[in-house]
Amino acid sequence: MIENEGGCFVIKLIGVAIVIIGLLFRFNPLLVVLTAGFATGLVAGLSPVQILEAIGQAFVTNRYMSLLILVLPVIGILERFGLREKAEDLIRSMKNLTAGRVMIVYQIFRQVTVGLGLHLGGHPSFIRPIIAPMSEAAAAREGANSPAWLERIRGMSASSENYGNFFGQLLFPAAGGLLLIKGVLENAGYKVDLLKMAEYAIPTAVAAAVVAGVRYLLMDRAIRAAGSNEAGEQK
């Protein structure tokens, strides 16, 4: 009896299965989501036209998710006149820091700026040209410059970009992530306030700064230990 019920209900999950399989096989996410939507609609007994109506209606209702388009000309102009170069100056001015501290400073810079809705960071524009070389140089000063250390320091510096980005972005009340949460919850009949959501992203943001910060400082300690070991062996 229960199995029978389960069997007829499980077909409704066809959309979930399509999303998982489609994304696993690297098909275009838009096509995957569209296919999953059609399959789910058909299983729910909607006609193709009704499905198109549902998609069109949801697409129009949720246009606010893409309002960042409005900011693009401003950011584009500022970039043309050296916004990124100036941000790099800001980061570079923190010379003579240990590797871990470079990463701590960058993560907090990233969390604060992305929390203000500014997308200033990135692996290609900051980690590769600035943060990783600065960290490597700092570790080399302590004597930690083996290939294994380079690998670890590069991994850790790449992580500071991800922590800063992920655990800072929802602090901005018009962030894409918050807008998606709003959309999904309002589809289900719950009205939610963007400012309140941004406020409740603060504890996690602080926790991320602390947890990652502790790990970066522990790395610094390991670098110093490795450096003094090396020096000891050489004597």
């Binding site: 959309g15 069109g56 893409s66 388009i69 409005l70 950011i75 100036k86 991800n162």
Partner: protein, 310 residues
């Protein structure tokens, strides 16, 4: 003075149509890529300006065309008359820290409007802030307006079709809700999770977010599925969690999953290659020991913050 969201949408649509015109005039782009890119931004602009006037089924049709263009890879980059590195460096030194002025005007105006005029809200604030910042950057740089839109188009073409993915996921969530997918997932979760215990449902929601994000490589996609399946029926309806608080912490739990999966290639695998690391999972290896404690912290935060007065 009241600014409505519809007016902000109209401005966005006009921007998109300006990008469309610039794409049509672009001499570097040609053939299907040019036609595809121009059609994509043009149709998208139309949904912003006349989205409410056009019958929903027709909008649905336009959306299918946009997905087809993206799926066929008929979108690409053009010629934007970008500045050289020398010019950027020179201007950065001349204008200096003022460059951050317009950039900071966007969040400042957004927050101010959200606080002082809550009826208009953060979204209208973002729209007003963008216009204020645009005027400020014109004054600061004295750039030609056409070039300003070239710079905007450069950034939008770089994002490409991904800009509408959130709207697609919302539409999928809408269809899931119509089909009752959430209830089916909830019933299945109920078989393995003791749903009477509030803490157990919170763990199921947060861990579900992290796991699904790891499988799909995308926290937004996971959010639409797991929130309709676990978050709403079990955590919000059954145990009375505040939807806003539970929702945002669930998304952050999903981000913990993003830190641990090669499926999120842009964040984890591409940077490893970019940094010439030997182990292409080296970035993930560095992140696991942060992601796991952060997931546990998020579970506790949801448990203690999302049930005020209960």
């Amino acid at each position: 003075m009241t600014v409505t969201l519809d007016q902000i949408y109209a401005i966005t649509g006009i921007f998109l149509l300006a990008f469309t015109v610039l794409t049509v005039l672009d001499k570097k782009q040609s053939g299907l890529t040019k036609a595809g890119t121009a059609t994509f931004w043009g149709l998208y602009g139309i949904t912003f300006i006349w989205g409410k006037e056009i019958p929903p089924a027709l909008v649905g049709g336009l959306v299918v065309v946009m997905a087809a263009i993206a799926g066929a890879k008929w979108m690409g980059m053009g010629e934007y008359w970008s500045a050289t590195a020398d010019f950027r460096r020179q201007m950065a030194d001349r204008i200096g820290w003022w460059l951050f002025g317009p950039a900071l005007a966007v969040p400042v105006v957004t927050f101010l409007v959200a606080w002082l005029a809550p009826k208009m809200g953060a979204l209208v604030g973002l729209g007003i802030g963008s216009v204020v910042a645009l005027v400020m950057s014109f004054a600061l740089t004295r750039i030609m307006p056409v070039q300003a839109f070239q710079e905007g188009r450069r950034l939008l073409d770089a994002v490409g079709w991904a800009i509408i993915l959130s709207q697609f996921l919302a539409a999928l969530g809408f269809l899931f809700a119509k089909a009752g997918v959430g209830q089916v997932v909830a019933d299945m979760v109920s078989m393995v999770v003791p749903v009477d215990i509030r803490f157990a449902t919170v763990v199921a929601y947060c861990v579900g977010m992290a796991l699904f994000t790891m499988i799909m490589g995308n926290a937004f996609a996971a959010f639409a599925v797991i929130t309709t399946g676990i978050g709403i029926p079990l955590v919000i309806k059954m145990h009375g969690a505040d939807p806003a608080i539970a929702g945002v912490i669930a998304m952050l739990s999903g981000y913990c999953g993003t830190l641990m999966t090669p499926m999120a290639a842009n964040f984890n695998v591409v940077p490893a290659a970019l940094l010439e690391m030997h182990n292409k999972n080296g970035v993930i290896r560095a992140q696991v020991m942060t992601a796991v404690p952060m997931l546990i912290i998020n579970i506790l935060l949801m448990y203690f913050l999302a049930f005020p007065g209960k």
